[in-house]
């Protein structure tokens, strides 16, 4: 039996929090005195009214949160955030249809960063800030944020955390979930602040510095310029962005112990981090080679753009400082591979996650060894701990679900008449929450506004499934979820 009242109550609280975030944007709008003051004011009032209504309807809720409730709650929360988050775009008339507005907000919250606004520079500052804000909240998770702010929220239930957290191994750093959440958000805040300061030092305006730092540490990819970071033509900014994208792709728990507990060596011993670093370097090296050979770039420039693009794709950020559409097509394959793997579990990045990649490759190697040694016990060990068979099966099921999902989306897009290369990379891009697409019809630097409305709804769903790691949503669609027992 679902505990609807409790879900309403929690949802109401979360909408208040969304209202609070929007208030920050309203303040930003008031500072600049632009046309988005009224839309924000209306949205905030609407959000608070609905939030209060939900809270009232869930007044006498019992506090027992079942596993089902947790899955449903997390899914509903993300959809509700996207619905209310899209209101400022619609009310202000910056986006004139519901599809695009919902897509834009969902793309923001899931840190995908695909946009259907052709000319972002035309948007008022308050709204630009809201776009970046959606990514920043979505980075570590909406519910996870609330756990850090309100300790009593969901009674420290690990179920909710598990439904939203990413990666194959969900470990706590501290016995108390709230403390864990605070520590991770602390790391996140520190990264964002450091990134903003550096951007400002290297010549961005304060507004740009804040926006770019928020979307980069969230590995989101929304920019306040159509040309993304390419707008600045500044190597220092590019390398700062590379560094912070890369760091945001590392497990925050690992970053925390490296930064605050002086266990930096642990970072380099971590199998997932090593896989992530090696994959990044290898992909960069390949792309540099192709850029030198076919595009005749200078070595320094080739490294800069190749590293930027690789890190941007592997961390599923989706920023760009050069148009990868001009590159040799083999680089697209490499970038697609990076998109697929993504970076470390427990970071703000999406994708299959390197931890899973490491385990899956070890399972594969063991299968081959097993052909030669049929009686051997071949453990899959990651960082000296064994991954048990059940976990391996879960991982393989996830892999299957991920691939099936992307291919279904690919298939439907082709039916809808989208270019085939684009279809494939769009599917991967949404499933992994990256943002740009590689292809002949839509280039990596272009907006997705020309896609049909139906496809946009499909992609919104795909992005959410990618962010919540598929199973959380898939389970809601299973018949047994709704059976009364």
């Amino acid at each position: 039996m679902l505990n609807k009242r409790l879900i309403f109550k929690i949802l109401g609280t979360l909408l208040w929090i969304e209202g609070a975030f929007m208030t920050l944007c309203l303040i930003m709008a008031l500072c600049y005195g632009e046309s988005d003051i009224l839309p924000f004011a209306i949205t905030i009032i609407a959000t608070l009214i609905v939030g209060t209504a939900l809270r009232l309807s869930g007044r006498h809720a019992s506090s027992a949160l079942s596993r089902r409730d947790a899955y449903l709650l997390v899914t509903v929360v993300w959809i509700a955030f996207a619905v209310f988050g899209s209101l400022p775009f619609l009310i202000g008339g910056y986006i004139n249809n519901v599809t695009d507005a919902f897509f834009e907000t969902m793309s923001g919250l899931t840190t995908t960063g695909a946009t259907c606004i052709d000319h972002v520079e035309g948007l008022p500052h308050g709204l630009l800030f809201w776009r970046s804000m959606t990514q920043w909240i979505g980075g570590l998770g909406i519910v996870f944020f609330t756990i850090a702010v309100i300790p009593s929220f969901v009674g420290g239930s690990v179920k909710v955390f598990a439904a939203e957290a990413t990666g194959p191994i969900k470990s706590k750093m501290h016995p108390r979930l709230t403390t864990t959440a605070k520590a991770l958000w602390g790391v996140y805040l520190l990264l964002t602040a450091a990134c903003a300061v550096l951007f400002f030092v290297f010549g961005m305006s304060p507004f740009d510095a804040i926006n770019y730092s928020m979307t980069i540490t969230a590995t989101g990819g929304f920019a306040t310029h159509d040309a993304s970071t390419g707008y600045f033509h500044n190597a220092a900014i590019d390398y700062t962005a590379i560094a912070f994208m890369f760091m945001s792709g590392v497990s925050f728990a690992l970053l925390y112990s490296a930064l605050f507990k002086g266990k930096a060596r642990q970072l380099f011993r971590n199998a997932e981090f090593r896989f992530y670093a090696i994959l990044t370097l290898a992909a960069t090296a390949f792309i540099v080679y192709f850029l030198l050979r076919y595009n005749h770039y200078s070595l320094g420039y080739a490294i800069r753009v190749a590293l930027f693009q690789t890190v941007s794709f592997i961390t599923t950020t989706g920023m760009f400082n050069e148009d990868a559409a001009q590159w040799h097509h083999i680089t697209w394959v490499i970038l697609s591979l990076c998109m697929f793997f993504g970076s470390c579990a427990g970071s703000t990045a999406g994708g299959f996650k390197c931890a899973r990649g490491v385990i899956a490759l070890k399972v594969l190697r063991n299968e081959i060894r097993h052909m030669l040694h049929p009686n051997a016990m071949l453990p899959v060990k990651v960082n000296d701990s064994t991954v048990h068979t059940t976990a391996q099966i879960t991982l393989m099921a996830f892999f299957l679900a991920y691939i099936t999902l992307c291919f279904t989306a690919y298939f439907i897009m082709i039916l809808a008449g989208v270019d085939s290369t684009n279809s494939l990379t769009i599917a991967l891009s949404c499933g992994s929450n990256v943002g740009p697409t590689l292809g002949l019809e839509i280039g990596p630097t272009m907006s997705w506004s020309i896609l049909p409305a139906g496809v946009k709804w499909l992609l919104s769903g795909l992005m959410l499934m990618g962010r919540l790691e598929i199973f959380t949503i898939l389970v809601i669609f299973s018949p047994s979820f709704w059976k009364m027992q």
């Binding site: 040694h373 049929p374 009686n375 051997a376 016990m377 071949l378 453990p379 060990k381 064994t386």
Partner: protein, 448 residues
């Protein structure tokens, strides 16, 4: 000296045997009357039958207060530890506890236990593992015993046709500067302390004493140059000893462990480094299984199951399949002699190893290192010559040293020296003595 032993299973019984031969006052406590009776029938000691779960009264009765050595070797390692703590607080001078868990032997834990009153912690598995690993490093010898970090080495070698000194009387081949010294020969069931007229025959098991720099030339003399270095080893039986061996082995040796119990396999996977150790869930006594895992490419085969017969047979099979180095763990003392005559290479007996390790403690400061050699029923010990002791008074040939004992070599400073009749031992020298059928305390008198 008063020694109290708690636990009358294999190690306890072996200890009782060693100590009672040395004219010590031994008390042995156990809750199994049959075991006690069996020991009492063979050794001169006193037994106390008492429950091990409430042992305090019987510890008092046994007179722990004025005991010199308290040894707890029951099956339960934590009982052993807590008995030692109790005994120490009651007044025992030195306490020894046997533990099963290798984790309890790491230096930090040991010092914590030392502070609590456990003077020595002994882990039979890691002692056995040390021996096995040492054996794998020197594949052509069956036994090896180092004195002073290897300044002198005693090697037990089975000589075959390839040996260059077969059939020649020792007085012809030995010169004062010979790179080795033969301390004992085992021929069939006899142990021979060699004289000038003796000679080596094929199949003899010979104990050589040599210096570090001569080890490789000795290898040539005994004709063992064709023994390859160990790169791949196969272990049958994944018990604690196997884990200990694997964790002590150099990292360039790849190991396959055969274990037929699937549950144990799952545990093993957690305990070993899977990059160089492969756990195989199959019966290691089956030739087909061994062939499938390429036993012909292995240079060493170690049988460590709990079953002595199985270990002996498995080693024989491995020898037949062409594995040059085989090691068998044999728990049953009766088999040790027979196994020595059958061609199965090195024999490891955990109980005897542990017992002789503990026995050293009794011998005190003058005997720093001692070892019981099972195959020849003899002891090898290191003594330090005190100033003015009898051993320093005359040249070796004029000392009137017992015929059953042989001086193997001496370590002076850090340098090893071999002994011949003209050697004069100086005060402060560490002297290695090989003694067979005589009491080690009789030898000890020469050094006091």
């Amino acid at each position: 000296m008063k020694v109290i032993i708690v636990g009358a299973s294999a190690i306890g019984a072996h200890l009782a045997d060693l100590f009672s031969k040395g004219n010590q006052d031994i008390l042995i406590i156990d809750d199994d009357e049959q075991k006690l009776e069996r020991i009492q029938a063979n050794c001169d000691l006193m037994t106390i039958h008492s429950s091990l779960s409430a042992p305090i009264q019987s510890l008092k009765d046994a007179g722990v207060k004025n005991s010199d050595l308290f040894i707890a070797v029951t099956r339960d390692e934590y009982l052993n530890l807590s008995l030692c703590v109790l005994a120490k607080s009651m007044g025992a001078k030195h306490t020894v506890a046997k533990v099963e868990n290798a984790e309890l032997t790491d230096p930090q834990t040991v010092s914590a236990f030392n502070a609590a009153g456990v003077s020595t912690i002994i882990n039979p598995d890691s002692l056995a593992a040390q021996d096995i690993v040492g054996g794998l490093e020197l594949t052509w010898a069956r036994q090896r015993w180092n004195v002073h970090e290897g300044a002198l080495t005693m090697l037990g070698i089975k000589v075959r046709e390839q040996c260059q000194i077969l059939g020649k009387p020792f007085k012809e081949i030995f010169k004062p500067d010979s790179p080795y010294h033969i301390v004992a020969i085992k021929r069939g069931t006899d142990t021979i302390i060699p004289t000038g007229n003796d000679m080596l025959l094929t199949g003899d098991y010979v104990y050589f004493m040599t210096k570090r720099e001569f080890v490789s030339s000795l290898r040539g003399i005994v004709g063992k140059e064709h023994y390859p270095e160990v790169r791949n080893a196969i272990i049958v039986g994944g018990g604690k000893t196997a884990v200990s061996v694997v964790n002590k082995l150099p990292h360039n040796i790849k190991v396959k462990i055969f274990e037929s119990d699937i549950r144990r396999c799952e545990e093993l996977v957690e305990l070993v480094d899977s990059s160089r150790v492969m756990i195989i869930n199959a019966d290691g006594r089956s030739v087909a299984n061994l062939m499938e895992e390429n036993i012909r490419r292995a240079e060493a085969f170690i049988a460590l199951t709990g079953n002595a017969e199985a270990n002996i047979l498995a080693c024989l099979m491995a020898k037949n399949l062409g594995v040059p180095k085989t090691i068998a763990m044999i728990e049953n003392m009766d088999y040790v002699n027979i196994a020595g005559n059958v061609d199965i290479g090195t024999i490891i007996n955990k109980q005897a190893l542990t017992a002789s390790h503990i026995y050293q403690l009794m011998l005190g400061g003058d005997v720093s290192n001692m070892r019981n050699l099972l195959t020849v029923n003899a002891d090898v010990a290191e003594f330090v010559a005190r100033p003015g002791s009898r051993i320093t008074s005359k040249r070796v040939r004029d000392l009137g040293f017992p015929r059953e004992a042989e001086l193997g070599g001496i370590v002076r400073g850090d340098k090893g020296l071999l002994v011949n009749g003209d050697t004069l031992i100086e005060a402060g020298d560490t002297v290695v003595v090989f003694c067979h059928g005589t009491e080690i305390s009789k030898i000890e008198k020469f050094f006091l």
